[in-house]
Symmetry: C3
Subunit: 248 residues, 3 copies
């Protein structure tokens, strides 16, 4: 990228996404980008490299451009930046490296297109033909819903602390339980092993070390954690697992 855009300011959000974990990458990107200045963002978690999955650029309503594989990785972040304004397929090989290989699209396609846009030597419209927004590949939706007075939710991400991020936020919590104040006790059913008891708290330090809390995380989602412990490892929770929360 620096070879094309000499004064690019490159920020490495993460190189530690689990292999092939498109949903993890999508979560991290969505969690990070709203706090970045408007920019050109490249993301690659790409089990299908070399297959016909499309390389795409998405212009978000906020003005950002997101570049990567059309496998669901970019859409949650685009949503958090106001939604998809336009999407285009990266078909213009003039913006790729001259010798694009079939196994390293991050280096040969995504990064050089991003650098050409960041440098202002190419317009967004030049990357390739527009594609239908509805044709973009979308990851399965993880949502929270009220069922028989309980809150049913799904694990969306397990962070490096073992904290468990869930679908839904304060609105879904209040839809299920009305007003919820710090100290409220909940019982949580998990797929493997006995259930959990969790205290609703604004942050980790409000419960004892080792105790489990239910909280609204820094992205606005519900989350479960053991204060200074690894909840996900302790009870075997992983992305995609369903959990059920009820008043204890």
């Amino acid at each position: 990228m620096l070879g094309i855009c000499r004064d690019a300011q490159i920020v490495d959000i993460s190189h530690a996404v689990a292999k092939y974990a498109v949903a993890d990458g999508a979560y991290l990107l969505r969690a990070a980008l709203p706090w970045f200045p408007v920019g050109v963002h490249v993301a690659v978690v790409d089990p299908g490299v070399g297959t016909p999955r499309r390389p795409v650029a998405i212009r978000a309503t906020r003005g950002d451009v997101l570049i990567g594989p059309d496998n669901g990785l970019l859409l949650p972040a685009a949503g958090a930046l106001g939604g998809v304004a336009v999407a285009r397929e990266l078909a213009n090989r003039d913006l790729w490296l001259a010798d694009a290989t079939s196994t390293f699209h991050g280096r040969d396609i995504f990064s050089p297109v991003a650098a050409h846009l960041a440098a202002g030597v190419a317009e967004f419209d030049a990357v390739g033909p527009e594609v239908e927004r509805s044709s973009l590949v979308r990851l399965p939706d993880a949502s929270a819903s009220v069922r028989n007075g309980d809150l049913a939710s799904t694990v969306t991400y397990v962070d490096s602390f073992g904290n468990v991020r869930l679908a839904g936020g304060r609105a879904e919590l209040e839809a299920a339980f009305g007003d919820v104040t710090a100290g409220a006790a909940f019982a949580v059913t998990v797929p493997r092993g006995p259930g959990l008891r969790a205290t609703f708290a604004p942050s980790f330090g409000h419960v004892e070390t080792g105790a489990t809390l239910l909280y609204v995380d820094s992205v606005g989602n519900l989350a479960l954690a053991d204060n200074q412990g690894n909840l996900a490892a302790r009870v075997g929770l992983r992305p995609g697992d369903g959990v059920r929360v009820r008043r204890a």
Copy 2:
């Protein structure tokens, strides 16, 4: 930070500090900052996020500003930069993100305050009220001392090679043993397992592969290592462990 200070030059010292290991973070920061230009430095290892522990900014005598939680993380580095000139509590919410959350002070409080200072749009005095230097939380002191002609010291840090950093430097070594020259042999008592034999050497390559050396590390502290081996894993040494060194 780039949203507030467009031309900030951000250096990532480490994102690999062990979870909750405030003393490890303090060691790394103290080991790194003296070799950096004067700047604004943010550090977060923060098991107490969301509790009343204070967010602080410390101006060091060298001119740097250190920003983070008041839990001992910043003080060793401040000491290595000439000491604490002034400390202030981060109470001015105008310098925080508008929607500060309770679980991600690194993003919502520490980084934006740092960026406002780095950009020059806020003065140090504006971050909040001064706090007594003596009221800053301090980690337990790890020191080396001469006892019955031996040198008693403490493990302060185990690096990624398994090299074991100790309290005290050449001065303490000479206080215990007088002049010490390369090749001098020492016996080291450790908490678990039999003792070690270590050769005093200027660097790893001066002893056989696999042999143990006692040396003065790149920060000026005493250290123990197996040349091309992992000493800490081999003998189970960890931060806080006491060791005793005597002439062999």
Copy 3:
């Protein structure tokens, strides 16, 4: 480096090279540098720190300067940048940090010399006396050759996906087997366990998930991989292992 060259644009290629693995570091550097702009590149994988191994600077034909230990780490990259034009020993202590230690040459010697060159305050010739190109330490050559109609090769690197990079490229493959097209089947003999069946394919997505492919990697070398699996872990392949490829 920023203390010497204020506006240096520093790119961290990797801090995750396996400990002491000079050949791994050499591979990564050689794989990365041809895609960088001409610059000053520092690399340190240095089991011999503190021994008489020389610190060197190499000017490559493309114009880059490579700085590090004279232990073979830099030469493959220099070769990929057109070859070694001139090599010099870092003997001019005016370009080092004032208090160079014996265990951290990355910080005290290599980086400050690089920063002085990058800042333009020192010329390449000023770093120290020229050394014979033929005297530079060279890693054992890994090469591919045709033996009895088979292709004999060597594992040069195992990446974080467990993909196995081999000596030789398309030219060696065609020397052994003539024209090779996608879908061609090969049998691969490995040092431990039964052999592999691999399909020649342009990229991972062209074979079934879990199937083994033989491909030309993004650097131009032959490579073996399990699509979305870890081939190296599955069959115990590691750098230096010999493999034999024949038509199946």
